[in-house]
């Protein structure tokens, strides 16, 4: 669906009204996953493996089951083994079968009449393990002879002779690399590592399942995509989709981590066995130990540049690990690595290796931050060594409309150059720096996504409107959807209420991911509004006794198309709605689509840091985010995405990491030692929104949610490296690591 018109005046889109769920959320009334209750509800709890890798010899649940108040006990044996590989991995990640594959892997679960009894029951379950050698580091896992996490999981394109842990391989690019490097005045080849990091949402996973004796089930849960939860759970439970209704709660952060299931099938199985509703709420340590961190990585990047800053060739080898199950995230890293550049010769290779760590779950632009960190670090070092301005070099090599991208497609209208120009013109770029301070810069990229979307829009008889969408509101999207409906219908924002409906109320909606909601749900909402407008025009035509084609929709009212159509005063939406019972009954618009044309997104981040040369402590002094939003529907929440993504990236760059001991156990499964940024760590995060309309959306909207986490890693690494006078190549750049680098 194409852009309506290149330059358009908006009445509601682009304003900053209050979000519809605001009062609920500031008064404590909003219901999140753990806030749900049901009559007769039991408490579910999960027993988790203390071993990173072990064979389950036996599980004796008899003592637990005998405890008064325990109503159900299950193990992996209580689940049918799905035939499909993908589903089997999801199921086995929810509950292990023959082997436990990481510290924290679920092995059994109970449902009891109180949390205390559930806890006692977990203690009474006897699991006999036979410990196996483990591996948690991606490079170690790829070595021949490494402990094998799962055998026989390699995809067909993985060459023989590699470690059994290698499951995925990919290659992208074009042009003659050798010829390209031969033209360079300087070639830099560097290796990088990044630790696994967690999405770190503040709300732990929670769900409430109720399965009745006739096989019907209800599931309430905090998720980014309840339709996908239904798909996964109904398949794992052997249910028909129609028998399982999933209702999303408010969601307390997800960032990709709540796009799959962990506890939901377990709660359903317990409820089925107990015949009562079962609620499971993860503790924080369970969230860290058993839900998805992003991939860790080990990468080699080689880039050639001429003295005047032209990049002649680029090559990257990316080795990612998505934990104990096969993971295709490296594909996205390999595609995104060089996306910001217009290159004649570029090649990226990606590999995924299994390790004894939790199964990867998506984390905001999955796979891209790592690869782009490595590429943008090498570009910065080339600029430093050749004495070139890093922003001018980016501009000189920037991808633009018509560029054959490093991953295949040719770009349409993109905002990279405009974004770089905005950074160049910003006072931040030329502000003076003090002693021990450095400035870093990085470009970032994300593909964005459209996907399956279904929206209903009901015209109420009092002239107000209800919009029904199927994507959990993760950061103000109900406000954006209402704004687009208001714009299209021509009625005030306040007259529209948008709700997120359960799986029975709409056709399948893809997960809230790929920065797709404002783009795709917005598009479907506009189309649903147009559907309703068509119907309202027909009612007006009928009322006036003229042809439908002779009616236009202007400013929230039907009007005759011209003098020839007749002289009638406008009929407002409210007037048409009021008489709808007499003109044919209720009026509703509807639209369903698998949306294309999401429109890729670019951002540029600028950061100043100061490094304490005696302790390696990094203070972030100033931060500015520049990003193309296509069209910012609700600018407050666009800025919020840019600021929040930047700060997650700052945490990733400086302090966040999964730390494993020699015993293969996670050392820091809590917010004390998994160090996400706190308010006092940060300066103000300035934002500059660019609006280069996306040709694939009627209002030009692009997704904005993921791109902001991509540039911070390299931007901060480049700033720290310049401030410290030594190039840092491993994340996080924790103080001990920086101090060690400073001391050589």
């Amino acid at each position: 669906m194409a852009l309506d018109q290149p330059k358009r005046e908006f009445r509601y889109v682009g304003t900053r009204p209050n979000r519809p769920d605001g009062v609920d959320k500031v008064t404590g009334r909003a219901q999140y996953g753990a806030d749900m209750t049901a009559p007769g509800m039991l408490t579910g709890a999960i027993l988790r493996s203390p071993h990173p890798h072990a064979k389950i010899v036996s599980i004796d649940t008899s003592a637990a089951a005998a405890i008064p108040g325990v109503r159900a006990v299950i193990t992996g044996a209580d689940f049918a083994r799905p035939d499909d590989n993908f589903l089997r991995d999801v199921q086995e990640n929810c509950m292990a079968r023959e082997k436990v594959l990481y510290d924290g892997h679920a092995v059994a679960a109970v449902a009891a009449t109180s949390a205390a009894i559930a806890k006692a029951a977990l203690k009474a379950i006897k699991v006999t393990y036979q410990a196996l050698p483990h591996v948690t580091d991606v490079d170690a896992a790829m070595k021949p002879g490494a402990p094998v996490v799962q055998a026989g999981r390699a995809l067909e394109n993985v060459p023989g002779g590699m470690s059994d842990n290698v499951t995925n391989a990919c290659e992208f690019g074009h042009g003659d690399l050798d010829a390209g490097f031969a033209k360079a005045d300087l070639v830099i080849d560097r290796s990088f590592k990044t630790a696994a990091t967690h999405q770190g949402y503040i709300e732990p996973h929670a769900c409430l399942a109720s399965v009745t004796a006739d096989g019907k089930a209800d599931l309430w849960c905090c998720t980014q995509g309840h339709f996908f939860v239904r798909t996964l759970c109904s398949a794992i439970m052997g249910m028909e989709a129609s028998q399982l209704r999933v209702t999303p709660s408010e969601i307390g952060g997800g960032f990709g981590g709540k796009t799959t299931v962990f506890i939901e099938p377990v709660a359903l199985a317990l409820s089925k066995m107990a015949g009562r509703p079962v609620k499971i709420v993860m503790a924080r340590d369970e969230v860290f130990r058993a839900t998805g961190p992003t991939v860790s990585s080990s990468m080699d990047v080689r880039i050639g540049m001429t003295k005047d800053g032209r990049i002649t060739a680029g090559e990257a080898n990316l080795r990612y690990s998505g934990g104990a199950f096969p993971c295709g995230t490296v594909d996205m890293g390999a595609q995104a690595a060089f996306a910001a550049y217009d290159l004649a010769a570029v090649r990226t290779y990606g590999w995924n290796a299994l390790t004894n760590r939790p199964k990867e779950a998506a984390y905001r632009a999955p796979g891209a931050p790592q690869a782009i960190y490595a590429v943008e670090s090498v570009v910065d070092e080339l600029c430093q060594k050749l004495g070139l301005d890093p922003l001018m070099v980016r501009l000189k090599n920037a991808a633009k409309k018509g560029t054959l991208s490093s991953y295949g497609p040719t770009f349409n209208e993109i905002g990279l150059e405009a974004t770089l120009q905005a950074a160049k013109a910003h006072p931040h770029y030329t502000a003076p720096l003090g002693k021990n301070q450095g400035r870093g810069l990085s470009c970032g990229f994300w593909f964005n996504f459209g996907g399956n979307t279904c929206v209903s829009l009901n015209i109420n008889t009092d002239g107000t409107v209800g919009v029904t969408e199927g994507n959990p509101d993760i950061g103000g999207s109900r406000a954006s959807i209402s704004l687009m409906a208001a714009e299209e219908l021509g009625i005030p924002y306040e007259n529209i209420r948008t709700i997120v409906a359960d799986t029975n109320s709409l056709g399948f909606n893809d997960v809230t991911d790929g920065s797709r909601v404002t783009f795709a749900v917005g598009l479907a909402t506009i189309k649903a509004a147009r559907d309703a407008i068509g119907k309202m025009k027909a009612r007006a035509a009928k009322f006036w006794g003229i042809d439908e084609e002779a009616v236009n929709w202007v400013d929230g009212a039907a009007v005759p198309a011209g003098p020839n159509a007749g002289k009638f005063p406008p009929l407002s939406l409210a007037e048409i709605a009021a008489v709808s019972p007499q003109t044919g009954g209720p009026i509703a618009g509807h639209y369903e689509v698998n949306v294309d044309g999401a429109g890729v997104s670019f951002g540029v981040h600028l950061v100043d840091v100061e490094v304490d040369p005696e302790t390696g402590f990094t203070k972030v002094l100033r931060y500015t985010v520049f990003q193309d939003a296509g069209k910012a529907v609700h600018p407050d929440y666009v800025e919020g995405q840019m600021q929040g993504g930047a700060v997650q990236g700052i945490g990733w760059a400086l302090n966040e990491e999964y730390i494993y001991g020699a015993d293969g156990r996670l050392q820091n499964p809590g917010f004390l030692d998994y160090r996400i940024p706190v308010a006092s760590d940060l300066p103000k995060i300035d934002t500059v929104i660019l609006e280069i309309p996306n040709p694939g959306h009627p209002y030009g909207v692009r997704g904005v949610g993921e791109t902001p986490i991509v540039p911070p890693l390299a931007a901060i690494a480049n700033a720290v490296s310049r401030a410290a006078g030594v190039r840092l190549t491993e994340l996080p750049m924790s103080p001990p690591r920086i101090l060690a680098a400073l001391k050589g």
């Binding site: 005696e614 302790t615 004390l672 160090r675 706190v678 006092s680 760590d681 103080p735 001990p736 060690a740």
Partner: protein, 293 residues
């Protein structure tokens, strides 16, 4: 588990002594409840001491201050005379945890938790603070540095509770300071820390000093050699270098998720140097202001 509210120190001590299982004192609970939640501690009896008369009071005594064992650090921070006399102790106590934790946590709890990384402890050791301990047998006063033994372990015997910590009077031109290193700006456990307390003469020469380090050994260490390195000096560069060197030599840290041996050792020296400079400047300022309060 049983919960009891003690109405007197003696009643608390008696209950703790009589408990055959595991008994714990509850003051702020910011360590105790975390340990209970983690399942590390199967506590049989919790004795809440906050209702004991006087245990939440700060009282002036002999030119110094007696801080009740259940005084929350947020209350300490609001007590201007204590903050003026022992600014290093006050700033150390106020670094523990968040604002929320400050509303509950106590210096006595920080000490009794036995962690080598507790923020209040190096400052109290440098201050030469005394701990008052009550038991069914009576009352005794012990130097702070004699309480910790190693991680999670103290010299407190079953049935003994800390009822107050005494911060002594100090001569004119005296001051203290505390610095810790954490990877963020808040909410972390110290990776290394240093407290320096010193007294100057009218010419700005250091006449007395105590230097204590945290998180670099199984318990907080009082580094006599570090004090010796700056006594008799005006904290010139040579003295500062000698101080840092003495501190590094006193370190016996571990490699863990929070820091490396090399990092902790080097940082302890840096922090001691910086803390000494702050204390020295404060000492000079109290001189200008007409002596200590």
């Amino acid at each position: 588990m049983r919960y009891m509210t003690a109405q007197s120190a003696k009643a608390a001590a008696t209950a703790l002594a009589a408990e055959p299982g595991l008994a714990r004192v509850l003051a702020g609970g910011t360590d105790l409840l975390v340990q209970m939640k983690a399942g590390n501690l199967a506590v049989d009896l919790v004795v809440d001491i906050k209702k004991i008369p006087g245990i939440r009071d700060i009282t002036a005594e002999a030119g110094g201050f007696r801080i009740g064992a259940a005084v929350a650090n947020a209350e300490l921070r609001e007590h201007a005379p204590v903050c003026a006399l022992w600014p290093g102790v006050a700033e150390a106590s106020c670094l523990i945890g968040s604002t929320q934790i400050q509303g509950r946590c106590t210096m006595a709890g920080n000490l009794c938790n036995g962690s080598p990384a507790g923020d209040a402890v190096p400052a109290l050791v440098a201050a030469g603070a005394m701990v008052r301990i009550e038991s069914p047998d009576g009352v005794r006063d012990v130097a702070v540095e004699d309480i910790p033994v190693g991680p999670g372990k103290t010299t407190l015997k079953k049935g003994e509770i800390v009822t107050s910590i005494f911060l002594p009077a100090r001569p004119a031109r005296s001051a203290d300071a505390y610095l810790r290193f954490i990877p963020r700006t808040e909410m972390d456990i110290a990776v290394a820390s240093a407290a320096v307390s010193l007294t100057l003469d009218a010419a700005g020469k250091i006449t007395a000093a105590r230097v204590a380090l945290g998180a670099v050994a199984p318990k907080v260490v009082l580094v006599h050699a570090a004090a010796k390195a700056i006594i008799g000096t005006t904290l010139d560069d040579a003295a500062l270098a000698a101080l840092a060197k003495a501190c590094e030599a006193a370190c016996n840290p571990i490699d863990d998720k929070r820091g490396t041996i090399a990092f902790r050792t080097s940082t302890a020296g840096v922090l001691a140097r910086r803390a000494a400079q702050i204390a020295y400047t404060r000492g000079q300022e109290t001189s200008k202001a007409g002596g200590a309060i």
